[in-house]
Each structure stands twice: as structure tokens, then as C-alpha cells.
């Protein structure tokens, strides 16, 4: 249910906005072109979503792998380093990451993707470590005593018991990505940030409103869907 309302809103906006020119005319009479038409809203949303989904998927894979590694007996010594990197990483503003990535990767989706992945890893990593650390010691002791191998114990016992926190990390990562991807339009990525950036540059408040409405509805939709998935995983 939590995902239904935002999703319905998003669909209504995508269907309705292209026909809403008269309203934006009424709202901002001084603008000659009050409706963003350079790229369709549907195309912007799809492109935005693709960027977020691919970046979150990669960030989840990296965050999970690092989190698992850092909680194995052999990787325990890495844990403080991993935590420190995670904290320091979070303090870099996304714009700074973009600024560094552009000279290396050029303009477009690539630097945005890199920034999203870097930002997305941190919550997943933190929650994976927290979740695996919180698995009851008695369950692990029993699993060892009954003859689970390391991998089997990880897959059958540890990850299912840590699934709740891990899903929360993935959800946070995805939400941050939806917002951060917007800034990517400043370096040439095609996202829902495009109307916002263009509106800000060209003093076109109507563009900014259109982009912001869609990003907001998309963020709530993604959050709602992942909350549903988390409930499914957490039983």
C-alpha cells in the first residue's frame, strides 16, 4: 500500500504533465515556453531510473561483498579501515565527486554513475556489517557444531538473519541515488534533473517545478517498493 499512492501519483504526473501547458501558462504568464519539451518526461524518468537501478545494484554488490569480507575471521582486521573509509566517503559532497570525475570520465552519464555507486556503497556496507554482527552468537555456535561449512553458514544462516538491516541499507542507498542523480544533469547526464538544471539556468521556474514534482514522486515510489520488498524478506 505504501508504494501504491506514490506510484499512482507518478503515473498521473507522467500522463498529465504533457497536457498541463495551459496551467503552467496561467501560473507563470511571463514565460514563453512554460512546459519542458526537449525530452519527454517518460524518457527522462526511464533514463533516471536506469541510472539509479544500475548504480544501486553495483553499490549493493560492492557493499555486500566488503561487508561480508570485513566480518569474516580473516577480514576482521580490515573492519576499522572499512568503517573509516565509509565515514570519510560520506563527507564528500556529491558535487565534489562529480567535479573530480568529469575530467577523468568526460561529461555525461559516466561520472554520475561513478558518484552514485560511491555514495550507494556506504549505507549498504554499514548495514551489512551491523546486520551480520547482530546475528545471535548461539545460532552461529549451533551452526558450527552441527557441521555447517563457512559458505553454507553464511548463505543459510547469517545472510537471512541480517536481511532486515541489509535491505534497509539498500533502500537508503537507492533513495540517496534518486536525489543525487538529479545533480548529474549538471554534467550532462539525462535525468529528471535536466528540466531543473535548465530551469535554474534559464530562470524558468515552471521547468524546475515539473522536474521536482517528478523526482519527488519517483523517490517516494522507489522507497515504497523497497519497503515492501524488505517486509517480504524480513517475513
Amino acid at each position: 500500500m505504501r508504494a501504491l499512492l506514490p506510484a499512482a501519483t507518478l503515473v498521473l504526473l507522467l500522463l498529465g504533465l504533457p497536457h498541463a501547458a495551459p496551467w503552467f501558462h496561467a501560473g507563470w504568464p511571463s514565460l514563453s515556453h512554460p512546459l519542458y519539451v526537449r525530452t519527454s518526461f517518460v524518457a527522462l524518468t526511464v533514463s533516471h531510473l536506469l541510472l539509479v537501478v544500475s548504480a544501486t545494484a553495483l553499490a549493493t554488490a560492492i557493499g555486500l561483498a566488503l561487508g561480508i569480507l570485513a566480518t569474516r575471521p580473516a577480514g576482521r582486521s580490515l573492519l576499522p579501515t572499512v568503517r573509516a573509509v565509509a565515514v570519510v566517503g560520506q563527507t564528500f559532497p556529491p558535487v565534489a565527486v562529480l567535479a573530480i570525475a568529469v575530467p577523468l570520465l568526460g561529461f555525461g552519464a559516466a561520472p554520475t554513475f561513478v558518484a552514485l555507486v560511491l555514495y550507494g556503497v556506504l549505507p549498504v556496507l554499514g548495514q551489512t556489517v551491523a546486520g551480520l554482527d547482530a546475528v545471535p552468537a548461539a545460532a552461529l555456535h549451533a551452526a558450527d557444531g552441527m557441521g555447517y561449512g563457512r559458505w553454507r553458514r553464511l548463505i543459510d544462516v547469517e545472510l537471512p538473519l541480517a536481511a532486515g538491516p541489509i535491505m534497509a541499507g539498500i533502500r537508503l542507498s537507492a533513495i540517496v541515488s534518486v536525489g543525487t542523480a538529479t545533480i548529474g544533469s549538471a554534467v550532462g547526464a539525462t535525468t529528471l534533473g535536466s528540466p531543473i538544471v535548465e530551469g535554474l539556468v534559464g530562470n524558468n521556474t515552471a521547468y524546475v517545478v515539473q522536474g521536482a514534482l517528478l523526482v519527488g514522486a519517483l523517490a517516494l515510489t522507489v522507497d515504497g517498493l523497497l519497503a515492501m520488498a524488505a517486509r517480504g524478506v524480513g517475513r
Binding site: A138, H141, A142, G147
Partner: protein, 309 residues
């Protein structure tokens, strides 16, 4: 059969097990008893290699377990612990099925085994198999823990204070269940406890551990009647140990057949301790004895003091 040969273990320079040798026979219920820190759990965990000895050899059925690979060894040995360690994300049925799954049993065989174990451990109320551990009482959780340890029909089961956290009534009912199952299946059980009554009630033989040494091994009666030194005598309970001994013998051993007397009868299968309690509560020094609902004789207070052979 489990054999410990000259086992030694140190933790951080402190000797926790000091040259322990012990032989647990096939089909025997052997209890290691001793205070906290006496090394009894450490010794137990060497059998499934959760702890590696610093010196000495552990043999299971004649094979030095250090030469076996760990996972198959552990899957072949049942293991139950005080904290139970049920998997909270799995149902009772799935918890019990853990080792059979690891061993690759067929689903039909697993289902049948789970069903049988639920019955064996008095967990057979409807819907039990599909409940989650957090919905069970402490006693029920430990019953599931014991069922899980027995699931793959291991010939050896290790139990580390499995009933330590339970209330006395629940503990007693689980002890009765476990003893009956062990007699029936002839499983070799190595059981650790700090509770003397539990040790004497369950063990065919008992090993008393103090400060990392196995100070005396023998049947409960041997430990009570012939302690090797004053420390053992004190630990076993001094003169009061004889009260414990009463719990080990059934009324049937001392019954005077044919006699009758007044009073609320005691069952022939009850312990002498129960009979003594009944005499105290009824204010009588002689009570009738029943077997299968029929009066078969009497038992008197003087019968508590064993007549010389």
C-alpha cells in the same frame, strides 16, 4: 565410543585441561560434572572439534578425529547447548531438519523423521512444526534443540548443560524424556552439567572434573559411597549425598512383598526419595506399594537404610 588420551589444553598460559584420559563406552550415558571453569565444556567441545587440544588425542570409534575432515565429523555427532541456538528465521520443523538437510536426505525421509521426533519429545500439538522459535516457551525451545541434535540419528550426542536455563519442573520432565530416548536408541551421550542431582539422575557413569583434572570417574553410587578424597566427598555432598542416592533407587528394590498397611500408596517405580517424602508428608513410617494399580507390598522407613547384604 569416545576415547580421550592425555588431553591438555591451555588458554592464555593457564592450563584449563590437565592430562585428562577418559573412555566413554558405546551406548553409555556419561555425565561430566563440575563447577564452572573446571574444563568440562572445553573437553566436550573437543569431540566435535570446536576446540582443538594442545596435547593428546581424541578418538571416536577408534579413529583419531584430528585426521578426519571437520564438517562430516560434526554432522555425524549430535550437539545441544544451553543457549539452544535455534535458528530464529526457520520454523520448528526446519530447525529439526537442519542436519538431515546438510546430509542430503530426501524430503520424504526428512518429513517422516521430523514427525517422529516431535512425537518423541512431546512436541506433538497441532501446528508445532510450522511455528517459529520465538513463539515457544523456554522448555519447548530446548525440546526442539534436543530433537535437532537427535535428528540424523547420530550414534554420539554431545550435550552442554542443555537444561541449565530451565525451571526445575521443566528440567525434570526433559531429563525423563532424554533418559527414555537414550535407553531406547542406545545412543552414546556425553553430557555436561554443574548440577550433581542431574548428573546422578542421568548418568550411567559420572566423571567429576575440578580445576581441569578428572578427579574421579564411576557410577553415581561409587562416587557417593567411595569418594577418592575429601574434596570429592565434599563436592558430592558429604553425608547428604546419601539422600541423593535415595533418588537413584526405585521403591521396587526394597519392597516387602505381600505386606499391607494403611496410608496413601506409593508407586513401585517411584524412587526411594519420593517414598521418603511421602512418609514425611503423611506422618507415617510405613506405606503400601502399588504396581499397575494393584497393591504389591509395603515399604518402611527402616528399608531406607540398606540392609547389609
Amino acid at each position: 565410543m569416545i576415547v580421550f588420551e592425555h588431553i591438555r589444553k591451555e588458554f592464555g598460559g593457564r592450563t584449563v585441561i590437565d592430562d585428562v584420559s577418559l573412555r566413554v563406552e558405546e551406548g553409555e550415558f556419561f555425565v561430566l560434572v563440575g563447577p564452572s571453569g573446571s574444563g568440562k565444556s572445553t573437553l566436550l567441545r573437543m569431540v566435535n572439534r570446536l576446540v582443538t587440544p594442545d596435547g593428546g588425542t581424541v578418538r571416536v570409534d577408534g579413529t583419531d578425529i584430528a585426521t578426519l575432515s571437520v564438517e562430516p565429523l560434526r554432522r555425524g555427532i549430535g550437539y545441544a547447548i544451553q543457549s539452544v541456538g535455534l535458528f530464529p528465521h526457520r520454523t520448528v520443523g526446519d530447525n529439526i531438519a537442519t542436519v538431515p538437510r546438510l546430509l542430503g536426505w530426501t524430503k520424504a525421509a526428512i518429513d517422516e523423521r521430523v514427525e517422529a521426533l516431535l512425537g518423541l519429545l512431546h512436541l506433538d500439538e497441532p501446528g508445532m512444526a510450522s511455528r517459529y522459535p520465538r513463539t515457544l516457551s523456554g522448555g519447548q525451545q530446548q525440546r526442539v534443540g534436543v530433537a535437532r541434535a537427535l535428528a540424523a540419528r547420530p550414534r554420539i550426542v554431545l550435550m552442554d548443560e542443555p537444561f541449565g536455563a530451565l525451571d526445575p519442573l521443566t528440567r525434570e520432565s526433559l531429563q525423563v524424556s532424554l533418559k527414555a530416548i537414550q535407553r531406547e536408541t542406545k545412543t552414546t551421550i556425553l553430557f555436561v552439567t554443574h548440577d550433581m542431582d542431574e548428573a546422578f539422575g542421568l548418568g550411567d557413569r559420572v566423571g567429576l572434573m575440578l580445576g581441569g583434572r578428572l578427579v574421579q570417574t564411576g557410577t553415581p553410587t561409587e562416587l557417593i559411597r567411595a569418594p577418592v578424597d575429601d574434596v570429592v566427598r565434599e563436592f558430592v555432598g558429604g553425608a547428604r549425598a546419601r539422600l541423593r542416592e535415595l533418588a537413584l533407587h526405585p521403591v521396587a528394590e526394597r519392597v516387602r512383598p505381600g505386606d499391607t498397611c494403611d496410608g496413601e500408596p506409593v508407586d513401585a517405580a517411584a524412587s526411594l526419595q519420593d517414598a521418603l517424602g511421602a512418609m514425611l508428608s503423611q506422618g507415617r513410617d510405613r506405606l503400601p506399594v502399588m504396581r499397575d494399580g494393584r497393591r504389591v507390598g509395603t515399604i518402611a522407613l527402616s528399608d531406607m537404610v540398606e540392609r547389609a547384604p
